[in-house]
């Protein structure tokens, strides 16, 4: 069956994305990708030469997704409290909608650290980092204005992202350690953004009487 060339290539990429995310680099099978794409296995090599090359394309996509989630493009007109609240809720929503990507990424960081680091570096060159820099500058500014206590902007961002992503990946396992009912668990997941914001804001806001 002859179809548009772009069409097959895109179908393969989409299927590869799905399979690699579920099975990881070592567990992914070319045949499974071909089946899911609805094309012949040979076409995978025709378009991408090797499994490694397909994996690299998928990895690049997840790294972009990862970085853009940390960065997030925000309106910076409002005050810092609102900026942080939006950053957290946007991050948590993005992670919730793409949880497989982040779980895959965490796994690959450990399995292929050098490969991930290289892709990460290259992706950073291309992507627009200004959004992150602007937020970090805004945090430094808030420290100077005594709106919040003295914190390292980098560490604050890392802390926020830790609270967002770790819970998203491990909450199913961690709940095993508790007696929460299904309804309670759902409520905790639902309110995670608010919980994180409170936790963070209570930590950094400056009180008048101190």
């Amino acid at each position: 069956m002859v179809t548009d060339s772009k069409e097959s290539e895109e179908k393969i990429l989409k299927a590869a994305f799905s399979v690699f995310l579920r099975k990881g680099k070592a567990g992914a099978r070319m045949q499974e990708i071909a089946d899911e794409a609805g094309v012949n296995k040979s076409l995978l090599h025709y378009y991408f030469r090797s499994k490694d090359k397909i994996y690299l394309a998928v990895l690049k996509h997840t790294v972009e997704n990862f970085i853009l989630t940390i960065v997030q493009d925000l309106e910076l007109t409002s005050d810092l409290k609102e900026i942080i609240k939006k950053l957290i809720s946007k991050q948590i929503n993005t992670i919730k909608e793409n949880s497989q990507i982040f779980q895959f990424f965490m796994g690959e960081v450990w399995m292929n650290p050098d490969e991930v680091k290289n892709v990460f570096r290259e992706t950073l060159k291309i992507l627009d980092k200004s959004a992150l820099l602007v937020i970090m500058e805004r945090i430094e500014d808030a420290v100077r204005r005594k709106e919040i206590r003295k914190v390292s902007p980098f560490q604050l961002i890392v802390n926020i992202f830790s609270l967002d992503i770790f819970f998203a990946i491990l909450s199913p396992i961690l709940f095993e350690m508790t007696d929460f009912t299904e309804a309670e668990r759902a409520a905790i997941v639902e309110n995670r953004a608010e919980e994180v914001f409170n936790f963070v804001w209570e930590s950094i806001r400056l009180r008048k009487e101190e």
Copy 2:
């Protein structure tokens, strides 16, 4: 070469631990385990029947390690501030010394969620959870005594663990986004426990003037 039976089995387990942690379930090779253990490949099947069985033994070990790191056995005589400070520094030290285990665990949660969940459940039955329960009870108590603001003990523990483990796994990657020198990076890693404690304690401590 005939050696003590226990000796070979232990060498295999140790090698399997090393290989599975580096390569994951799908990427690990029986031959590589045999080589690293210095025994014949057939012995792996003689002692463990199949690759799956060896993997399961390794997974159990990592799950125990994971749970015991969250729990940590602490002196509970001092005040809550000291308890939390010790919990954080102990967690961070444990994670630093066994970072491969936690990275492996994060990866396996995504690749084999059901298998991990099962092992997790079984391990919880065996392990002594009292240490965690005592800490959570101590947190609730502190809330009642107005030593700290109202927090969910579960979420506080999860938040602390998130801040500890996420940074340990991803800091090499995240540093790629910054201009820190090697010395600065080392200092940040070195001071992570203090940073996390400050972040947490500032968030939950109650001020007099409020």
